[in-house]
Symmetry: C2
Subunit: 312 residues, 2 copies
């Protein structure tokens, strides 16, 4: 009987591992280091060993394991192949094929941001929803689109790359991707700090933000304390993000929009402000789409990866 | 044996009907008038009768018919129900359910723009593609998103409502939907004429467009004749449209983008100009996504409707 599955979330520093029951109950999670030396040649063998060791430790026979899902920080095609993953020092790797070979278990692979969206749709903030947009607001802006309960990986593995939606043609500063005007230049933690610096320079208003380190958290803390300058900054940030989310809704019309990543620690204040601009710009039919905070935090990846192997 | 299927495309003036083989070969197409009087109560019975009459005429037994798909100018949920369709004078209609009742055949329903996208993905410009974005540039801008070979209908039937993607927050004129800054305010035939009027007023350049009727066709004709003013107008139009398409690609990353509707009669000149801006703004992985002209014209709806009943 297929009672168990594993979710593996490969990051540049650690590999997060989760042992799940197939009903979605997380039995145990643990981490191992990501060995990126030698073109990351040890990463998948290490992950496979972690799975097999855990099975042995818990007396789980491989016949009881539905499979192993793997989230990877890079584009992943529908066969589970990765053309390259810069942070892992990988050129082409057949993640699903190699993992199956190393373990003798079914394996699937997906992009880490997409897999996180699947996790939130399975057991997190969007539990039960079949159509979800997730935006992960961290150093950059990642995203994942779920349609009909499945990840939209896209023709080039770029489905859900909403951080690189070009929303401001007039922008002159370049994004890491080389284009100018990407959503993540405004709606990431880095983008928020950039907006803050601009505002501090252009605006003579007194502000607590003129002292101390300028971080996304500092901006939102000042916003919550009704600092006038912080309010101007967060309103700009929220208009970019809420406006972009309204465009994504006109494409896939999700049941729910989930905001995750470090910036989402700002909590309900973030939701309220983004929601205001989302509602302003969204098409009538989508104006009431709920915007909610992600719930699984750093575990979203292992949840979603595990879910990959439970799909038909 | 299920050898045949029907595609019905209900418009405000005529109902287009198609008899297909299940392999996608169109055997015959015809039209009947749309009787919108009495809250459009006769529309579905008329369509059902058209199907049953055709079966009788051709000696097709109902056992040979896989089903009947119906495209409707309004939102359609996954059960084939329509909450309202203004152009048909409909309030709530259970299109799929009613058609099944009237015919004794399996019936499915979809939004007309979505169904047209499915048609192009089945037997048109995107034949064989599983992931497609279609933009229909007519009086307004309609759209359809195909993911994994299926229509993305969305949680509120607003999937593919890309004409109402809000791309210009500074816009002060209102779209028909009530918002300001929707894509269709710039990228429809009407939008192109609006841009032309603005340009003619703001610009002192000589132009053939200062004489005669100002239509989308006239603008593109002048553009092809290298009229300087027309070039400025079309470049603006193409920047709005190409830029918006690049955002849609960052969401669903299609294999191909299809442009249809009246404006697409401008042909390759349209593609070339839109492509230029699409490539400028698109995320690296999606920059080479082909943009092509729709091929099925007014038949896209009956093709896509027929395909609805062939899906699992």
């Amino acid at each position: 009987m297929l009672q168990y599955c594993f979710g593996i979330d490969i990051g540049g520093t650690t590999i997060k591992c989760g042992l799940f029951q197939t009903d979605g109950c997380l039995l145990e999670k643990w981490e191992i280091p990501t060995r990126i030396e030698e073109q990351g040649i040890n990463i998948l063998p290490d992950a496979a060993k972690a799975v097999l060791d855990k099975c042995k430790e818990r007396n789980i026979s491989l016949e009881e394991v539905a499979g192993v899902g793997v989230g990877v920080p890079g584009p992943v095609n529908h066969k589970g192949e990765v053309p390259c993953a810069v942070n892992l020092h990988w050129a082409y790797v057949d993640v699903a094929g190699d993992m199956e070979k190393y373990m003798g278990l079914q394996a699937k692979a997906g992009n880490d941001a997409n897999v996180a969206a699947l996790g939130e749709a399975w057991k997190g903030a969007a539990e039960g929803a079949k159509n979800v947009v997730l935006a992960t607001l961290g150093t950059g802006v990642g995203g994942g689109i779920i349609v009909d309960g499945k990840i939209v990986a896209g023709a080039h593995g770029a489905g859900g790359e909403i951080g690189h939606a070009n929303i401001k043609h007039e922008e002159t500063q370049a994004c890491n991707c080389g284009n100018c005007g990407c959503l993540e230049q405004y709606a990431s933690a880095t983008g928020l700090v950039r907006l803050a610096k601009e505002q501090l320079e252009a605006d003579s208003e007194e502000s607590v933000l003129r002292m101390g380190e300028l971080t996304a958290k500092a901006v939102f803390d000042a916003y919550k304390d009704k600092d006038v300058l912080a309010i101007r900054i967060v309103e700009r940030f929220a208009e970019y993000l809420g406006g972009a989310l309204s465009i994504f809704s006109s494409v896939v019309d999700p049941e729910v929009i989930v905001l995750g990543g470090g910036v989402s620690k700002a909590g309900q204040a973030l939701i309220d402000c983004v929601e205001k601009y989302y509602r302003k710009y969204a098409f009538t039919a989508c104006k009431e789409t709920p915007i909610v905070l992600a719930e699984l935090g750093n575990d979203a990846g292992i949840y979603g990866a595990a879910k990959l192997v439970l799909e038909e």
